[in-house]
Symmetry: C2
Subunit: 391 residues, 2 copies
């Protein structure tokens, strides 16, 4: 067992893993971590798994931090970066949380797991459960992208389509705990997904040479990524590993088709009211009620950040802007952050020379239905019309 491990506290509500940080500070250094292979398990001491043999891995992390000068110029930013989690197994940041959650489930002897999902978390859980040899049950809204259904099915998990939203799926998973004997891997119903998501912040800190950036734009559904990054930054500060006092301003980005956190932030409330008639093509942020709403709001406020809802109908245009300016496959959720950056630069909330990170949570390739490809048809036996092709 690595030094400084502690078991989760058991207060009501979400469970929060705490570490004996002074013991960790004595046991490992930043240099030692950097000397290990890439991937989230280099952060071994800051993750909850006790026995190395429990680790279930598909090679997740260290994802690229890319300078984005051409997209930055379009947005009026001279120091824009994209943290590209589309390169994780299963094509999204959900792999970070599932790698740790399923490893812990293995350590605890669990054989059967279930999850409600907007899509990508289910795909990731199915993959890690397969890797661990566990039986997996995935519940998703019946209009979830076909690629998510496909990846769950290919991984041998059972895929259920529910005529409702993710919150309805969550109720089914909860109700099934006793009759089905499964472990509930819902966001914040178990404490380990957030520990996996924490590696988003740990990697950013290392990639920025331990001086955190000014602003992080993050598309917010269940919000574990934002909460996890904020937890990471605070643990690193307590460890004394940061080279600068500055903490990033955390920006929660939602679509105006589903913006419960933004409404609560603007109203100065501690919890968010469920968002009625939630609708957005960015299925990952179609979360009308988040269990960890108060933790998201706390992190935004503590960081001096903000919450912003962008125009749903512009999301596809922003996807195209990111793709064509940088060649990065930015899913609809994170494309909303492009719109948010535009607004925040315009209003002066972000200064043009600040270091801004756009978190790309997942590949656009899972969402072919949001925008039919623009194509031209060519007949091979007819003379080419080069003028048409060049236009």
């Amino acid at each position: 067992m690595p030094p400084g491990k502690s078991t989760p506290s058991t207060t009501a509500g979400p469970i929060w893993v705490r570490y004996d940080l002074p013991a960790i500070r004595k046991a490992v250094t930043r240099e030692k971590i950097a000397s290990r292979g890439p991937g989230i398990w280099r952060w071994r001491e800051l993750l909850p798994v006790k026995d190395d043999a429990s680790i279930v891995t598909l090679g997740e992390g260290l994802t690229p931090l890319l300078r984005a000068p051409r997209l930055g110029a379009a947005l009026g930013l001279s120091n824009l970066f994209v943290k590209d989690d589309s390169l994780l197994p299963t094509g999204s940041f959900k792999s970070r949380g599932q790698a740790v959650a399923i490893s812990m489930a293995k350590e605890l002897g669990i054989k059967r797991v279930a999850i409600p999902t907007a899509g990508n978390a289910g795909g990731a859980m199915a993959a890690y459960a397969a890797r661990a040899g566990m039986e997996a049950f995935v519940f998703m809204p019946d209009d979830t992208p076909i690629i998510n259904q496909f990846e769950v099915s290919l991984a041998g998990a059972k895929c259920f389509l529910v005529d409702g939203l993710i919150t309805d799926c969550g109720k089914i998973v909860l109700a099934g705990k006793e009759p089905m004997g499964w472990f509930d891997i819902s966001t914040l119903k178990e404490p380990y997904r957030i520990e996996g998501k924490k590696t988003m912040g740990l990697e950013l800190a290392e990639q920025f040479n331990w001086k955190l950036p000014d602003v992080i734009l993050y598309p917010t559904g269940g919000g574990t990524g934002l909460i996890g990054m904020w937890k990471a930054f605070n643990e690193l500060r307590e460890l004394g590993w940061l080279e600068s006092e500055k903490m990033p301003r955390m920006v929660c980005v939602q679509s105006d088709g589903c913006a419960p956190i933004v409404r609560a932030f603007e109203a100065g409330e501690k919890h968010a009211k469920p968002f009625e008639n939630a609708a957005t093509i960015a299925s990952g942020i179609r979360v009308p009620a988040a269990v960890g709403d108060f933790m998201i709001l706390d992190a935004i406020r503590q960081s001096g950040g903000t919450a912003i809802a962008v125009e749903e109908k512009q999301i596809v245009e922003w996807m195209k802007l990111g793709g064509s300016k940088e060649g990065i496959s930015i899913g609809p959720e994170s494309s909303a952050c492009i719109g948010a950056a535009m607004s925040l630069v315009k209003s002066g909330w972000i200064r043009p020379d600040e270091q801004v990170v756009l978190y790309n949570c997942g590949t656009a390739r899972k969402y072919p239905d949001v925008a039919p490809p623009r194509v031209w048809r060519i007949q091979k036996d007819k003379p080419m019309d080069w003028g048409m092709i060049g236009k």
Copy 2:
């Protein structure tokens, strides 16, 4: 300019980049390379780019080498590994070749590029061209998976659907060179894609601690990956960086729906005849005639390898086997290698304890049409039938 660089030779047929290996041996060590960041550019001295400023990167490489004990057990192999290039930008190994080809195009001042593609190479070229700010034209068969059309279009490239095969697309790109003034990025029409693919072999060597595995199973379309790996192994041997004399037996895997190389191998021929009526759901290996056919056949023969055609109609089952046993998203092309492993173990050509690498060239997520997901529909307001769910 790094030491030991040489320009391509200009004999007829494919151009082959040669390096001054003794100079490289003096300039860099394996340890120095290992101390650099992950990714293909750690192999700087063994790649053709002269000026660092020319490098166009999306964070490609170092992809995971995963032990696959559960899939191995199903195939009768105790040392099966999957090299998982589905984690590259654009979800396939094509990013390796395009990263280097587009970087070289940038170094040479090229502003406009074109490519014929079975799908993934076009997606990768479009992404890297966008990253470099180049204009890109992509020609693909009109039944190429929609995700490939989508990714090309999202990256701002022009996507053309041709009523024919990749060979027909190649003719159009060739014919357009003069009227359109574009640079032809076809397989082996320029020498740098293969240099990028070489990193497949370089990474494997490093990940196996410089003792190469016994067998590499590789799905073969245009074959640059196989040729590139073989080139890498030979350069490493000449550099004196390998710890063992053993070279892997290279296995070319094709579908019986399109098996030109297998036929030529079996017939003992130097070149392959075009395969009539090529048809396979594994679109990446639907290449009826490969420009580098003789180079593929040479590599297989020199390595003591073989070529094998597997049953087209089993490919989807093998995809499901890989997905459900290991949670790895193995595209239809590389899933053919699962079938090949089964046959070769059965025939005794592969011994059960040999180190065998299955090269996963790309994610299954781009091919949702090959197998509709198996799903169950649930009505949220009806009582759950837990018995049905558990079945």
